[in-house]
């Protein structure tokens, strides 16, 4: 430091005044930052707490630059479910009362950016600076739309296939075979047809009740797009930016669930099962095979009391459906988004907070508490993360293969129609072909020229 001290003081004071946009005095300036987190339970509280910690760090950083700013962070997560949260954010933003930071699904980026509810985070932070430059590039890609980075990934997850080891053993698997299962899935040696066969064995031998051989997620979610992918389906045409309805893959995907119901391994009325019931059933071995999310680990081992997870459960990618398809898993990272505010400074501070909250240390707190996966390879260097068996194994086995659903303004509708079609096929209201025909009709009507049918 070559400048003399008084000079620095003056410069600092000038900067503070400039920054406080005419606050009038040198007193601390208050900035209130509201953080709303969707789909967030008690276990995910670091989504908000990390912003609080970041605020403290930023206050100190700014203080060193002579800027006396008092950042107050106010978190809120008790919205009910996703739809209540999204409704609240959108209506609040429309009325100019948006929270500064929202934690939400990356799928909201497309519609919300088009509506001007959010601002690109890349307009406010240096994308080459740490920790942003250390985040997995595929996750950064997922947080972008139209080539612009709108948000920063808040966590990563993935949606694995689960096997109850005891049941597998009783239908004839050896320990070695169970250990090799994830690899066989990855190499397409174990496919969805094998899933049905094993599930049927478990039901026929009376190891699990009828309808509990294969026990899927009970409500709509990205998980079902995985089965579309298992049969070779693609969701987005990169060249034209249009969504794709692959009729062949869609039919096979619906047919798989029809077959599962007909074989008696999945209940016809399975969809709509209460989540609480679902968790307790899969965590106690009532189901032979099922699929879920990496964050379920926290629920299984804590609330549901599954004590020896690794001894009792095997997990893998979602197996391929046929030769055209691929074993896969979908990650649906939540992202930190900065909303449009009247004050440039508030947006800048919000973006800065999000950046700091994305540092490996802070993100690891969230990852471990909520059993999510990290957002940066550097987290492997943090003991807390590296020593957590679930985080490290799931990262290795799943995250590297994960892809995400496309950011597209009409994807919400696409997904909803696809799921509705699945429901009509699953519940036996329609055959797979008829259900897909209805889906095609609805998609064409609702999406128009944003859709390619194959």
């Amino acid at each position: 430091m070559t400048r003399s001290l008084p000079k620095l003081r003056i410069a600092a004071a000038a900067a503070a005044v400039a920054l406080s946009l005419g606050a009038g005095s040198a007193a601390a300036k208050d900035v209130n930052i509201k953080v709303w987190a969707g789909g967030t339970n008690e276990a995910d509280s670091y989504r908000m707490e990390n912003i609080e910690i970041a605020a403290e760090i930023l206050e100190r950083e700014l203080a060193l630059q002579g800027k006396d700013i008092d950042i107050k962070v106010e978190g809120k997560r008790d919205f009910g479910k996703w739809k209540e949260f999204k409704q609240a954010v959108q209506l609040a933003a429309e009325s100019g009362d948006a929270p500064n930071i929202v934690v939400t699904s990356h799928l909201d980026i497309a519609p919300w950016s088009k509506a001007g509810l959010i601002v690109p985070v890349e307009d406010y932070v240096d994308m080459d600076a740490w920790p942003i430059n250390s985040i997995y590039p595929n996750l950064m890609e997922i947080a972008s739309y139209n080539g612009v980075t709108f948000g920063l990934p808040q966590d990563a997850e993935s949606r694995p296939f689960f096997f109850w080891k005891d049941t597998l053993k009783k239908i004839g698997y050896s320990d070695a075979q169970i250990e090799a299962l994830p690899e066989k899935v990855e190499n397409k040696e174990y496919k969805l047809t094998d899933v049905l066969a094993d599930a049927k064995k478990a039901v026929d031998m009376g190891l699990v009740e009828k309808g509990y051989g294969f026990y899927p997620r009970p409500s709509n979610g990205p998980d079902y797009a995985q089965f579309y992918q298992s049969f070779g389906g693609k969701m987005l045409d990169k060249d034209t930016g249009k969504l794709i309805l692959d009729k062949k893959s869609m039919t096979e995907f619906y047919q798989f669930f029809i077959d599962a119901v007909e074989a008696g391994v999945t209940r016809k009325n399975h969809l709509g099962t209460d989540w609480g019931q679902w968790y307790s059933e899969v965590a106690t071995g009532k189901a032979a095979l099922w699929h879920g999310g990496t964050w379920h680990y926290a629920r299984y081992t804590a609330k549901e009391g599954l004590d020896d997870f690794f001894g009792k459960v095997q997990f893998s990618l979602i197996p391929a459906g046929d030769e055209d398809g691929r074993p896969n898993t979908i990650t649906q990272p939540l992202v930190y988004l900065v909303t449009k505010q009247n004050s440039e400074e508030d947006m800048e501070i919000a973006a800065e907070l999000v950046k700091i909250a994305s540092s490996p240390r802070l993100n690891t707190l969230h990852a471990i508490k909520s059993a999510h996966l990290g957002i940066s390879p550097e987290q492997g260097n943090i003991a807390l993360y590296a020593n957590d068996r679930w985080a490290s194994e799931a990262t290795e086995r799943l995250l590297v293969h994960a892809n995400a659903q496309p950011n597209h303004t009409a994807f919400g509708q696409f997904n909803q129609i696809m799921f509705k079609g699945l429901e009509t096929a699953w519940t036996g209201t329609k055959s797979a072909e008829d259900a897909v025909a209805e889906v095609e009709e609805e998609m064409k009507a609702a999406l128009g020229n944003m859709l390619i049918v194959r």
Partner: protein, 276 residues
């Protein structure tokens, strides 16, 4: 009606049987809040106040304490009820007694509005609140709830005014008092019972309201007990029915108290019905 020819026992038994589901729900709504039962059993084995901990525990990060929410609910219900009473008191009198242009038209409009699909207008209502800067405020929800209650309130008050003998007013007017004084001094005391009934009715209606605050005031400052309880139920890491019920009972207590106090009046006014 009592009758010597028939015994009422068979009817009591029949009614008791069909009432069983409701009675079961009421009994366990109370019992479950102060006891624990082992899994898979219905009979409580131990007494506990644990389920009421939301009353004294500090809320966790991102959650709201129940007390400000309760206060909000009270403000919401009390304000709505007072505005509905005041406005209905005036408009009901005008429609019942005062000559004015378009009276018939207004009456017909009132009846139409009474049977109107209010909740389906919520998108447009949101827009208006937003333009007025009242979205996400308790005041906005209060005004909207008031507007939706008014057609019913005015209609009820008009009914009460209709029963007040016309002679009372004539006497007042002949003594040289103005219409306003007559209304204030002579007519108002006559409709007081009706006013109380309407006040209680609209208080309960606002106290129970769910969709309006849910959509029009989702964030903390305007949260009320219905939305608080609902988001608690939806939070799927805690399917703790005993706790839900405790919050529910806490929320329902004023309703039950009001019911016991104003039983007769309420039975009458609900005959007019405002919800299906």
């Amino acid at each position: 009606m009592k009758s010597r020819n028939f015994s009422s026992l068979p009817i009591i038994i029949l009614l008791a049987l069909v009432s069983l589901p409701l009675v079961t729900m009421y009994v366990f709504l109370f019992v479950d809040t102060i006891s624990d039962a082992p899994a898979g059993s219905l009979i409580p084995t131990s007494f506990t106040l644990e389920h009421w901990r939301f009353l004294w525990e500090e809320p966790k990060v991102g959650e709201t304490s129940i007390w400000p929410v309760t206060l909000n609910t009270f403000i919401f219900a009390a304000t709505t009820s007072s505005i509905v009473m005041t406005v209905s008191l005036m408009a009901g009198y005008a429609l019942s007694r005062l000559n004015m242009p378009f009276r018939r038209f207004m009456l017909a409009g009132l009846i139409t509005l009474h049977a109107f699909p209010t909740i389906t207008l919520i998108i447009a209502i949101f827009l208006i609140l937003q333009l007025l800067g009242l979205y996400n405020t308790l005041l906005g929800v209060i005004i909207v709830k008031t507007a939706l209650e008014l057609p019913f309130g005015i209609w009820i008050m008009k009914g009460f005014y209709d029963t007040v003998p016309w002679e009372i007013e004539m006497a007042g007017v002949q003594d040289g008092a103005s219409r306003f004084t007559v209304w204030w001094k002579l007519v108002l005391p006559q409709v007081q019972p009706g006013l109380v009934a309407l006040g209680v009715f609209s208080f309960l209606s606002a106290w129970s309201e769910f969709i309006l605050p849910q959509v029009l005031s989702p964030s903390g400052s305007g949260q009320v007990l219905s939305t608080y309880l609902n988001s608690l139920i939806l939070d799927d890491t805690r399917p703790d029915f005993n706790m839900f019920k405790s919050v529910g009972l806490f929320y329902a207590m004023p309703v039950i108290f009001i019911y016991l106090t104003f039983q007769k009046k309420l039975m009458n006014i609900y005959g007019g019905g405002s919800k299906g």
